[in-house]
């Protein structure tokens, strides 16, 4: 029989039991209470902080539409390809991942290796903005090779500009983060960008979603879209003509064009050419800038090699570039100063002297700076950012102000003897150089038509500096226009207290002060639209992603500058400029066009060799129709490669071509005079060897249409040829390139057809239709003969002459 436990044992058991329960379980329970109840929230917060991953949900950037809803800038989903080096098991897998990324994305192997070296990382971006077909194929490969989690995608968006190199300086572009960097993209960035959302989700320690779905989503608010006042078609007309003008006249410092609604101030088109492709904004496409960069390279090398230095004249405190490379690299440089100014060159020389040479890095840095300057130059929207001296176009403002202030009347006369003395200096009229005489006694209208500087000096002086400055200011030339675009600049002008007779005189014909092209067209519009200075605008509406209008821009009348009465007089005066004056080449048959030419010297700007810049700025302001102006266009060619050229011969035909395209498009019907209607045939004018815009304006004024073949800027051949009889409204084909054929066609057989049928048949074949004989329209007399004969192969545009039977065909 075993002995039962003693009381001592039982007692000690009680002690142990009590000890275990109170000391053991009691203490841990107390500890749990402390952790869970007292510090629970604290620990919970720390735990949540490590478990919660906040993911950004990108907001879709709004679209930029033209006035008719055509998308000019739009966003599409793309992906960033990422790797998670921490998920890669071994070197074998690392090799596979690298190979796949290099093959599929064309990324640098060293770059991938560098990313994969961060072995604990779970998120390394390899390439951004990868588009759909590539990512689809990549993910397919990832699946097939079992590399899920090692290579993954992250959503992003990318900006597309479907029209490419189009309205680029207006639209601007976005940077890698999809933020607007330039142009409207920048100005309206907040509107377009929207508000990104956030997903708060629980992730395990490897960053993967947990099986329990805890997600808190704050949805992204997509950006709103912009509807511009820009009309894609009008913009296209403008850009086409500006591009041609740039090539025709080898414009050195870009060409600006603005098409504006005269009544509202809405910008219908705005362009600076050459510009850039917003899809790839860093690429330089301006030939001049490319040449400038080519010129910059050897300059940097020459400085590094000690071939180019500067001498310093302490007495005059001036520096002179010098050295063996000076003649070839600086004196002959054409565009170098666009990307590398004198101060940059001096600084580079200083750097070389201080450091005893230029390292490879320093040379590369200097070139990168030049490249950056070239990029900034091509992104610049000259229409709002570059003030210029408007020259004679400004006479519109002087004339309007003078009339409104009663300084002059319509009947005032101004005598021009070919020059005028102002403050002991002789100012010649442009007529002097060719005719050695003046314009004689002119009315205000004559003075405007002749663009006579002596007359305008007199007008300015009649106004006096106080009144002149008042109107200068009233026309908005001392303030920003307030357009909804970034980078609007203000020019330099003489303040009234500093305006002497000389300054007043030069200012009255548009020199010695600067304004932006946008200020110029806005002010000129005020002179012809009834006197209202409008605030120009480019965004018509802001719409949300469902197309609801969030806000709409109402035209803003800044002030009434001149009376309607004076404005009406200005319209007629400016019509005379185009009808009989310096603006003839802007004529458009069927339309009453008004306008003003402008030629201004770039006084005060110097070339790198210290010589004076003799280049001009040629411009033309045109508007139509005269009695009820709807549309105005200003074209400014900065530094065309022409000597002694005038705005009348260079800019007027460009504006004429643009308006000739735009007016019918805008639904403004031509109204021919009786005379014009009666004239049914004409003789083909000679346009061979002329610049495209000249040829176009000649043909347009002759009542003919034209079609350009080839991309040259000079007409090499024309069909039909000079002096061939041609019916009005026929099309003349202009060949601008050698060996380019517009295609030959077989002459259709029209014998036996009526006039209408024959006309249609011939025109459809791309040929010109001409009648001979006394066939009377409206009768059904059949064609009895044609020349050339049916079946002969001829060039398009060839005239096919048809002969009708007498009204009563003889038996």
């Amino acid at each position: 029989m075993a002995k039962t436990p003693t009381y001592q044992m039982k007692g000690r058991m009680m002690v142990v039991l009590a000890g275990m329960i109170i000391l053991g379980f009691g203490i841990v329970l107390h500890q749990l209470f402390s952790i869970q109840i007292l510090q629970g929230e604290e620990y919970q917060q720390i735990a949540l902080d490590q478990q919660m991953r906040s993911t950004r949900i990108g907001a879709k950037r709004g679209t930029i539409y033209d006035t008719n809803g055509k998308a000019l800038a739009t966003s599409a989903d793309v992906s960033s390809v990422c790797v998670a080096p921490g998920m890669i098991d071994d070197d074998e897998e690392r090799k596979n991942v690298t190979a796949m990324l290099v093959k599929m994305l064309g990324v640098d192997e060293a770059l991938v290796a560098k990313k994969l070296d961060k072995k604990n990382s779970l998120y390394e971006v390899v390439k951004t903005k990868v588009e759909k077909p590539v990512t689809d194929e990549l993910m397919q490969q990832v699946l097939e090779n079992g590399l899920q989690g090692r290579i993954f995608l992250e959503g992003d968006t990318r900006r597309y500009y479907p029209y490419g190199n189009f309205a680029a300086t207006v639209l601007g572009f976005t940077n890698a983060d999809n933020d607007g960097a330039y142009g409207l993209e920048s100005y309206y960035n907040k509107t377009l960008a929207g508000t990104p959302g956030r997903t708060l989700a629980i992730r395990d320690s490897k960053g993967q979603p947990m099986s329990l779905q805890y997600e808190e989503t704050q949805p992204a608010q997509d950006g709103n879209s912009l509807v511009l006042t820009i009309d894609e078609t009008i913009q296209h007309y403008l850009e086409k003509n500006l591009e041609t003008a740039v090539d025709e006249h080898k414009v050195g410092d870009r060409t600006v064009g603005i098409v504006m609604d005269v009544e509202t101030g809405a910008i219908l088109a705005m362009s600076t050419k050459p510009d850039f492709d917003p899809n790839n904004p860093t690429e330089i496409i301006d030939k001049n800038l490319l040449q400038a960069l080519e010129e910059a390279k050897p300059v940097i090398t020459a400085i590094a090699a000690g071939q180019l230095w500067y001498d310093y004249n302490a007495a005059t405190d001036r520096k002179f570039l010098s050295g063996p490379a000076y003649d070839t690299l600086i004196k002959n440089a054409k565009y170098l100063n666009k990307v590398m100014g004198l101060n940059t060159i001096y600084a580079l020389i200083d750097q070389k002297n201080e450091e005893g040479g230029l390292t490879q890095e320093a040379q590369e840095a200097a070139y990168r700076k030049a490249l950056q300057n070239a990029q900034y130059a091509q992104w610049r929207n000259k229409a709002v950012s570059d003030p210029y001296e408007p020259g004679s176009v400004f006479k519109i403002i002087t004339a309007a102000g003078a009339l409104e202030s009663h300084a002059v009347t319509e009947n005032s006369t101004f005598n021009c003897i070919g020059y005028i003395e102002v403050a002991d200096k002789t100012q010649h009229c442009h007529i002097w150089s060719s005719q050695h005489q003046g314009h004689g006694v002119q009315t205000l209208e004559d003075a405007v038509r002749n663009s006579c500087n002596p007359a305008f000096i007199q007008i300015g002086q009649l106004m006096g500096s106080r009144l002149f400055s008042e109107y200068f200011s009233n026309f908005g030339l001392t303030e920003l226009t307030g357009i909804d675009m970034p980078g609007e600049a203000s020019g330099l002008y003489h303040k009234v207290e500093n305006m002497g007779i000389a300054e007043l005189s030069s200012s009255s014909f548009g020199q010695t002060f600067t304004i932006t092209p946008l200020q110029m067209i806005t002010a000129a519009n005020a002179a012809v639209n009834g006197g209202k200075l409008m605030q120009p605008y480019i965004v018509k509406q802001v719409v949300d992603k469902d197309g609801n209008v969030v806000s709409a821009t109402q035209p803003v009348v800044k002030r009434q500058v001149i009376s309607k009465d004076i404005s009406d007089k200005m319209q007629l005066m400016l019509e005379q400029v185009v009808a009989n004056g310096s603006g003839r080449q802007a004529q458009i048959p069927g339309y009453r066009v008004g306008g003003k030419t402008g030629t201004s010297e770039k006084i005060g700007t110097r070339n790198l060799d210290g010589s004076e810049n003799t280049k001009n700025i040629l411009s033309f302001y045109g508007f139509a129709p005269i009695d009820n102006p709807k549309v105005a266009c200003l074209v400014v060619l900065d530094e065309p490669d022409l000597i002694n050229a005038y705005g009348s011969t260079v800019a007027a035909p460009v504006v004429g071509s643009i308006l000739a395209d735009v007016l019918p498009y805008m639904g403004i019907e031509p109204q021919y005079t009786q005379e014009q209607l009666e004239e049914t045939t004409t003789s083909t004018p000679n346009v061979t060897d002329k610049d495209i815009h000249d040829a176009q304006s000649i043909l347009r004024i002759a009542g003919l249409k034209y079609r350009q073949v080839g991309s040259g800027t000079t007409v090499l051949r024309q069909v039909p040829g000079y002096q061939e009889p041609i019916p009005k409204d026929a099309t003349v084909v202009l060949y601008t390139e050698e060996n380019v054929v517009d295609g030959k066609v077989l002459v259709p057989n029209v014998v036996g057809m009526t006039a209408g049928q024959a006309n249609k048949e011939i025109t459809n074949a791309g040929l010109n239709y001409a009648m001979m004989g006394s066939g009377i329209e409206g009768t059904s007399s059949p064609v009895i003969a044609q020349n050339p004969l049916a079946g002969i192969e001829v060039e398009k545009g060839t005239i096919v002459t048809v002969e009708f039977a007498e009204s009563a065909p003889a038996e």
């Binding site: 002995k3 003693t6 044992m9 275990m20 952790i35 919970q44 720390i46 478990q51």
Partner: protein
């Protein structure tokens, strides 16, 4: 002596003489204890699954990796429990010396033949199955001490009987385990041994002396940090686990985040977030952190209460046992469960420095679970000979 009875199976006819003279001698087992064991096992299995599936899915590609194995061992363990509960525990006295010899042999063997050189704790058997001699050692020390105490109870105050034999056995086993090294197992075995010596009647002055020795050791560790390598840094990480949040303090911190996240009512069963690869080995030593996170303070308290009830019931069985061997067996085995539970929860709650110790009925581990259930079977077997009231 009752050895003759030990050969009998439960349903075997009893000798009439015994039946008449001691009608309650072989009663049915203690149902409350059985229910507590099975309840804890059931909750343990559910929580193991909840705690382990994310970890299992990530590392083994199979959410059921741990739970299926543990279930299999649980079934084997429950069968073992039922079988053992029907066997007369007195048979163990015969095997006490053999058990001690075998244990010592295996403890030596594991030092030379093991799965893992950094912690020489597991003897490989077949495939992925291993055997942990320390698990056996825990049982051995209970059986051997119970045997010695019941044999020499009257002379226990004499150190020759009541101190040195116990200290020698405990010392050798502890030494072998320290060599593995297996600190937590050593602490557990020392705790069980000391508790059994205390109850078995060893003179109290030795405990006072031992206590002094312990205090001295702590003082040495604190004032001569180099005396015991790593002890100081371990203490530092215990006091301020955030000092090395990604290194030594990581496990403790993640455990605290889990427990703290539970709050009063918990995030709900299955909803622990910390088990998603934040908490290292959530299926093992830190399963209770997940329990706390999912079931909250209330759930954790209920589970602790179940353990307390189990310990109480085990001690009750011991107190009412008719012989000292059975009594000491029940005390030893119950103490083992109690102390291990307390130590585990103390570790996960950073009450004591982190040392690897598993939670009975909850932590993953086949040998351990089978051994535990078989040992509970021994307690149940003892209960059949005690005068505990049966429902």
């Amino acid at each position: 002596m009752q050895y003759a009875q030990s050969a009998r199976s439960a349903g075997a006819p009893r000798r009439k003489k015994r039946v008449k003279s001691k009608p309650a001698e072989r009663g049915s087992m203690d149902l409350i204890f059985l229910i507590l064991v099975l309840t804890l096992l059931g909750i343990g299995l559910i929580m193991l699954f909840s705690a382990s599936y994310a970890y299992a899915y990530y590392y083994d590609g199979n959410s059921f990796h741990y739970i299926t194995r543990q279930l299999a061992f649980a079934v084997v363990g429950v069968v073992a429990l039922l079988v053992v509960s029907q066997i007369d525990y007195h048979i163990l006295r015969r095997f006490a010396l053999l058990l001690l010899g075998g244990t010592l042999f295996l403890l030596v063997l594991v030092l030379f033949y093991h799965t893992q050189a950094t912690a020489k704790r597991w003897i490989p058997i077949v495939g992925t199955f291993t055997f942990q001699p320390s698990e056996l050692a825990k049982f051995t020390i209970v059986v051997v001490f119970a045997h010695l105490i019941s044999l020499n109870y009257d002379r226990m105050s004499d150190p020759r009987y009541g101190l040195w034999p116990f200290l020698s056995i405990m010392g050798i086993i502890a030494l072998l385990m320290v060599l593995q090294p297996h600190l937590s197992g050593t602490i557990l075995i020392l705790s069980i041994g000391v508790v059994m010596m205390f109850i078995g009647g060893t003179n109290l002055k030795w405990f006072a002396l031992g206590g002094l020795f312990l205090v001295g050791a702590v003082v040495v560790i604190i004032f001569i940090p180099d005396a015991v390598p790593y002890a100081m840094s371990r203490l530092e990480h215990w006091i301020n686990p955030a000092s090395d949040p990604t290194g030594a303090g990581y496990q403790t911190l993640q455990s605290l985040y889990a427990i703290g996240s539970g709050g009063l009512l918990g995030v709900g069963i299955g909803n622990s977030r910390q088990k998603h690869l934040y908490l290292p080995e959530p299926q093992n030593d830190f399963v209770f952190s997940v329990v706390c996170e999912e079931l909250g303070f209330v759930g954790a308290t209920i589970i602790l209460l179940l353990f307390v009830l189990l310990v109480w019931r085990g001690f009750a069985i011991a107190m009412r046992c008719r012989d000292r061997f059975g009594s000491m067996l029940a005390v030893g085995l119950t103490t083992q469960v109690g102390v291990q539970t307390i130590l585990n929860i103390a570790v996960v709650s950073n009450t004591i420095p982190n040392t690897g110790i598993s939670l009975p009925f909850f932590s993953y581990g086949g040998t351990a679970l089978c051994m535990l259930l078989a040992q509970m079977g021994v307690v149940l077997s003892v209960s059949r000979y005690s005068t505990v009231e049966k429902e």
